[in-house]
């Protein structure tokens, strides 16, 4: 491993998502690779969550700035589609952080498509219903709890 690669990887991994800043690029599973060339040039490969995710440009800029500030002479950020990202790439840490922010994480992958009721992140009730299949960002939908009446966001399943 070239010198600095471990550092570059760690720094890129900890860059926050611009729309869900409590999640890092690594939490989201969108950091694919970090390579450091012989001259210290870093190449970072990201994969988008949605084809039209408007945050990708900002993420690339944030990664570039973070690595340049750490002293890397040049940083190139590329995006790569294959294999396609799905919400199954969210790790346990990401799911726990979503819950802590009152956002219901996507249900775990099931062998057959089944409809699961979401648990209200405020009161834990299972009596919840969808208000809108789309939300404030491409990756979320909007729900409401029928027991505590609070609306909440859901990081919707994409697979």
């Amino acid at each position: 491993m070239p010198p600095g690669e471990e550092l570059a990887r760690r720094l890129a991994a900890e860059v926050p998502d611009p729309e869900l800043p409590f999640l890092t690029l690594e939490d989201l599973g969108i950091l694919r690779r970090v390579e450091v060339g012989p001259e210290g040039t870093v190449r970072v490969v990201l994969t988008p969550t949605y084809s039209g995710c408007p945050a990708v440009g900002q993420m690339a800029e944030d990664v570039r700035r973070t690595l340049m500030d750490a002293g890397f002479p040049a940083v190139q950020v590329d995006t790569e589609l294959a294999p396609a990202w799905s919400t199954d790439r969210l790790g346990p840490r990401a799911r726990a952080k979503l819950e802590a922010m009152d956002i219901a994480p996507p249900p775990p992958a099931a062998p057959a498509p089944i409809t699961l009721t979401l648990k209200c992140p405020h009161c834990g009730s299972l009596r919840t219903r969808q208000l809108s299949r789309f939300g404030s960002t491409a990756c979320k939908s909007l729900w409401r709890c029928q027991d505590c009446s609070e609306p909440f966001e859901h990081f919707k399943a994409l697979r």
Binding site: G52, A84, L131, R133
Partner: protein
């Protein structure tokens, strides 16, 4: 320049990527026209999100089309500096939004088609097309589900919503035959396994639409005076108006950024 694998010529790759990309770009623009006009706030957000997914797919496909062409045209040049005759999208996607029933019927007809196409392209022999399709298929599936729910609600709703759905189907059905008419480039790409033969997805598409309509108290219109030509650059007058709006800022202020 960059010939595809399995013998797909660069020009054919350019043409098919352009056709698929133009479908996404034009429909994306149509859906964006609903912004501030949607019947309810949730739908306002939904239509903009659908448009955003399609715009993302368009960007990937048009970038690939430009790369394959090898004349240095990028996604922006292809989107903003071509005239209607050079667009290769289906007539279906350029049809005006009409009322909400027309927009949702168009979504049903197109999303069902796109989901089948992307699913097959994602296991095809052209890796760059396959990568874009594998990403897009998850989105198309969600779009289809959204359209199904609305068609169900409107078709089985009030007398008014039901009659509007019937009118929407009569209006749009003539444009559906074109979905399954391959261009020469498409035929060659299908022979090489990069794209599915369109005849192979017509049956599954029809089945999806038929069963959705049946459960929504609607039916496939019996006769249609078929309209086609979009894939060859022969468009309805609506595309010119759409492009005028979409392109004028970029053309009036070339290379402007904000």
């Amino acid at each position: 320049m960059t010939a595809g694998v399995a013998g797909l010529s660069a020009l054919d790759l350019h043409e098919v990527a352009l056709a698929l990309g133009d479908d996404c770009l034009v429909l994306s623009h149509r859906l964006a026209e609903w912004t501030t006009h949607a019947p309810e706030l949730e739908e306002e957000v939904a239509l903009a999100n659908l448009a955003l997914d399609l715009l993302g797919q368009a960007r990937s496909l048009l970038s690939l089309a430009g790369e394959a062409e090898g004349r240095g045209r990028d996604e922006d040049q292809l989107a903003y500096w071509r005239d209607d005759r050079d667009f290769r999208n289906l007539l279906l996607v350029e049809q005006p939004n009409g009322d909400f029933a027309v927009t949702m019927t168009r979504q049903l007809l197109f999303s069902a088609y796109q989901e089948l196409l992307y699913d097959r392209i994602s296991s095809g022999t052209e890796p760059r097309l396959a990568a874009i399709a594998a990403k897009g298929v998850m989105e198309a599936r969600y779009h289809l589900e959204h359209a199904r729910l609305w068609v169900q609600r409107l078709g089985g709703g009030t007398e008014e919503s039901h009659s509007r759905m019937r009118r929407a189907l009569d209006l749009l059905w003539p444009y559906t035959k074109e979905l399954f008419e391959p261009t020469e480039a498409w035929g060659r790409a299908a022979d090489l396994g990069a794209l599915p033969p369109l005849a192979s997805i017509e049956g599954p598409w029809r089945k999806t639409i038929q069963s959705q309509l049946e459960s929504s108290h609607l039916e496939i219109p019996e006769f249609s005076a078929w309209q086609s030509g979009g894939r060859r650059g022969s468009h309805s007058e609506h595309l010119g108006h759409l492009l005028a709006e979409m392109q004028h800022l970029h053309r009036s202020h070339p290379n402007a950024t904000w």
